[in-house]
């Protein structure tokens, strides 16, 4: 049987790279639409028809520049964007035939540029003005890149030893590997981006020092951990926070990987993160994966194509399922992670015909939504329920502070964070940085 087909593995890419032949054939299918719906559907408004035409004419370097000009994280977005609901979903060929593979074409161009050693951006002539950026995730990187491009200094501070934020530790492995995420960060650093790793704001560097060192501050701290759901047995070690689980998988945690082989994994949630967990667990060799959602499927916030993806990996979707109790598990075997003894759930709760079942789960993962980052509450900006209040241009309640990415949206795609960072940089330049030069000229 194994000779006839192969189950996908954890590392196997969902969207493998295109060969040159494939890319050219696909690029030549593009109609080069006027005022193209794909460009409109992209949060960063990449000129998609132009970059595809440039691939078709073998101007692949020019194509990459077109992409990066609008979205500096074009390489990672090519891999992680939910193109089915963005550019490709808007493609006019969808109804006629099938949409252009915009994501893979974008990857083709940006991979080429990276391999050819092209600079990701060209820093502008040095201007007076400096921005301190908290968080080296997609929003912070995009913000710093835009400032650098316009000639302003930007310094990113991140508490983690590795930059990239969720791109490095939080995206499903079959979409984006840490290697690819870190390569993108390195590409930015080669262009002059400054990142100070292992610096925790408030501990290693006080807010006062940060404010004193910079003319403005961009907050791109993302969200925090996933709170407990308040049921019996959830404090035991076989119960995971989805983000910790994904980070451990991506870091190659040997004990967790050993435990996943033949495991029975119950995931609680209904968003895209819950899909990332069930699908990765299945690919890591889990014998059984359940996705438990408390309401009907129409309320699930995960994209339909994501739900279909995990169903194709054998995940069983249980709707109207409420977790009641997690049973204690056996002691962890040597070289293995801790397990639970099962998960008691109530199916059809509130319908009057509910039944209680005990799933023979060996691992339970919570993917029920993050709370705000701990740092958010300490910052001198207005926030509500852990989320920073900011306008479309990242302006917060504090004129020196701008914010973007998940810490403002509560959790969106990488491409939204890339847009937020770029826009906030442009707003900081208009509001503050561009006036510094005039001010100093006036005082002279």
């Amino acid at each position: 049987m194994a000779e006839r087909f192969h189950l996908p593995t954890l590392a196997q890419e969902l969207r493998p790279p295109l060969s040159t032949d494939e890319a050219l054939a696909e690029a030549n299918r593009c109609l080069f639409c006027y005022d193209a719906p794909c460009t409109r559907a992209c949060p960063t408004h990449i000129d998609v028809p132009l970059f595809i035409k440039q691939i078709a004419t073998s101007n692949t370097s020019g194509s990459a520049r077109t992409i990066l000009q609008s979205n500096i994280l074009g390489a990672s977005c090519a891999r992680v964007c939910p193109t089915e609901v963005l550019c490709e979903g808007a493609c006019v060929l969808t109804d006629q035939h099938r949409p252009i593979k915009i994501g893979p074409l974008q990857r083709f161009a940006t991979d080429h540029a990276q391999a050819a050693g092209l600079p990701i951006l060209t820093p502008g002539p040095r201007q007076r003005g400096s921005v301190g950026i908290i968080g080296a995730g997609p929003a912070g990187l995009a913000c710093a890149a835009e400032l650098l491009r316009q000639g302003y200094q930007a310094v990113i501070y991140d508490a983690a030893p590795q930059a990239g934020g969720l791109n490095t530790v939080g995206v499903a492995q079959y979409k984006l590997t840490p290697t690819a995420a870190l390569a993108e960060v390195a590409w930015l650093e080669r262009a002059g981006l400054e990142i100070r790793r292992g610096v925790r704001i408030g501990t290693d560097l006080s807010l006062a020092s940060l404010e004193a060192a910079h003319d403005a501050v961009f907050v791109g701290v993302g969200m925090g951990s996933i709170p407990g759901i308040g049921i019996e047995g959830e404090a035991q070690p076989g119960v995971w926070d989805a983000l910790d689980f994904i980070a451990a998988l991506k870091a190659g945690d040997a004990a967790l990987l050993a435990t996943l082989k033949g495991a029975q994994v119950a995931v609680i949630g209904g968003g895209n993160t819950s899909i990332d967990v069930t699908t990765q667990a299945a690919r890591a060799g889990a014998h059984k994966t359940w996705l438990l959602y408390r309401r009907g499927p129409e309320h699930m916030s995960a994209y339909v194509h994501e739900i279909e993806l995990t169903l194709s990996h054998g995940t069983e979707l249980l709707c109207y399922a409420t977790p009641r109790r997690i049973l204690p598990g056996p002691a962890a075997a040597p070289g293995h992670a801790a397990q639970v003894g099962g998960l008691e759930i109530e199916l059809g709760a509130g319908s009057g015909q509910s039944e209680t079942r005990t799933l023979p789960a060996t691992l339970v993962v919570r993917a029920t939504g993050q709370r705000g980052a701990a740092l958010t509450a300490l910052l001198p900006v207005l926030s509500e329920q852990g989320v920073v209040k900011a306008d479309d241009w990242g302006r917060t309640s504090n004129p020196k502070y701008y914010a973007g990415g998940d810490c403002v949206s509560g959790g969106q795609e990488v491409v939204h964070a890339a847009r937020d960072g770029k826009r906030a940089a442009q707003a900081m330049i208009t509001d503050i940085l561009s006036k510094l030069h005039t001010a100093s000229a006036a005082s002279r």
């Binding site: 032949d21 035409k53 004419t57």
Partner: protein, 428 residues
């Protein structure tokens, strides 16, 4: 970054990309939007005595699901009043002083009429004039357009008339609807033209509606022959470019199916100093100039060239007469089996359509495995042309003659002295 700016017989242009005299240059508004998009110059749609147009006017040829491989039109010169055109020319030139604005002219073959038209165009601010001796339909019957361009003496005569009064450079636009374009090109140069541009459109009927039996484009149950342009005509235009480039010493503006920067680079290599584009803009709009400029600039950079001028004409001397080609040179096809997808297209093409030099048989998995029969291969290229996989079939040089050249004119004097030439095909 390479410098894309050009000086075309004294006409300065920020880049070599001009809009050809055609519907995209019908109005000042269009030309100003084109300049905003990045076009370096434009040749204003031909001015002459007002005419009337028919409806419909265009028809096209597609290929395998792709639209507009070739475009045909029966539209005439401008149908807008001359004074409106001149007013707009003056306005465009005032707002865009650094762009090249050439005005295309076509009037009846009278010296005074030409003199008057030249003065009016130059007074309006034209940077140069293009004489339309190429329009193949409608105007010919009135003794204009190709009726002039097809007779070298007329071409020379009218060019002389124009040069008597012109203060700006004069470009003569040549028709391809002649036996040998070199004759009218020489006539233009003799008449004092500062440059030539080519090619104008080719006489064509693009197709016939199989239900109504009416050729396209349909004008109430009938049609007329039109002028063909677009990607389909490029190879014809390139050949004429090369012939004219070898023959005349004045600059050439290349026209004919240019849609991409590669097309433009090919025209420039064969001697064009500027290129003119129409069909690709009629298909996709002015915005295509972004990649035309970017692609050409990147290409020049990759070749270590600092300007368009360095590229100009580099391939002209590589176009030779057949009898000058080297009979010692021999290539045969080689298949990269690891890339072969087993489609068998090369086999059938060679077996039915060329020289029966490929063998084919099913492999263990039932897929077609092809093999070049090296003793039969004449090195024609066909298999490598039809193969759908890049670099799967390549042509490998197999002779041992290095740089030793044996042209036909040498060989033909004593064929017996070169037995290896006959054995180019071993089974004969």
């Amino acid at each position: 970054m390479a410098d894309l700016s050009v000086d075309f017989c004294g006409i300065k242009s920020p880049n070599p990309f001009w809009l050809a005299s055609a519907p995209p240059t019908n109005t000042g508004d269009q030309i100003m939007r084109a300049f905003d998009a990045g076009w370096g110059g434009a040749v204003w749609k031909t001015l002459g005595e007002p005419i009337i147009n028919v409806s419909s006017r265009y028809s096209a040829v597609g290929y395998r699901g792709n639209r507009m491989m070739g475009l045909n039109n029966i539209e005439l010169i401008t149908d807008r009043p001359l004074d409106v055109n001149f007013r707009e020319i003056a306005e465009v030139k005032k707002r865009y002083p650094k762009h090249a604005l050439i005005v295309s002219l076509m009037v009846e073959s009278k010296r005074e009429t030409w003199h008057q038209m030249v003065r009016r165009a130059e007074d309006a601010g034209a940077d140069g004039l293009e004489l339309n001796f190429g329009c193949p339909h409608g105007m010919v019957e009135r003794g204009m357009g190709a009726a002039v361009g097809q007779v070298p003496d007329y071409t020379c005569q009218i060019t002389e008339w124009v040069k008597e009064v012109a203060r700006t450079p004069v470009i003569v636009k040549l028709t391809p609807n002649v036996t040998d374009i070199v004759y009218p090109a020489r006539a233009a140069q003799k008449g004092g033209a500062d440059a030539v541009s080519l090619i104008n459109t080719i006489n064509s009927i693009t197709g016939v509606d199989l239900d109504s039996f009416t050729p396209r484009p349909v004008v109430h149950g009938a049609s007329a022959h039109g002028g063909y342009c677009g990607p389909a005509v490029k190879p014809i235009a390139l050949n004429m470019m090369a012939s004219v480039a070898q023959e005349v010493s004045i600059p050439i503006s290349g026209i004919g199916g240019i849609s991409t920067w590669q097309d433009a680079a090919e025209f420039i290599l064969l001697g064009a100093s500027t290129v003119q584009v129409c069909t690709a803009v009629m298909h996709h709009g002015f915005r295509i100039v972004t990649d035309l400029m970017d692609g050409l600039s990147n290409y020049l950079d990759s070749k270590g060239m600092g300007s368009v001028k360095e590229l100009c004409g580099k391939s002209v001397q590589r176009v030779k007469r057949w009898e000058e080609l080297n009979l010692n040179y021999r290539v045969i096809a080689a298949v990269n089996q690891s890339k072969c997808i087993g489609c068998g297209v090369c086999y059938v093409a060679c077996n039915d359509g060329a020289h029966q030099a490929i063998g084919a048989a099913p492999d263990q998995r039932g897929r077609t495995r092809v093999e070049i029969l090296e003793h039969k291969c004449v090195g024609c290229n066909l298999c490598s042309l039809v193969c759908p996989v890049d670099d799967c079939i390549t042509m490998q040089r197999v002779d041992n003659f290095g740089d030793s050249v044996l042209p036909y004119k040498t060989f033909s004097k004593d064929p017996a002295a070169y037995p290896h030439v006959k054995s180019n095909r071993h089974d004969i």
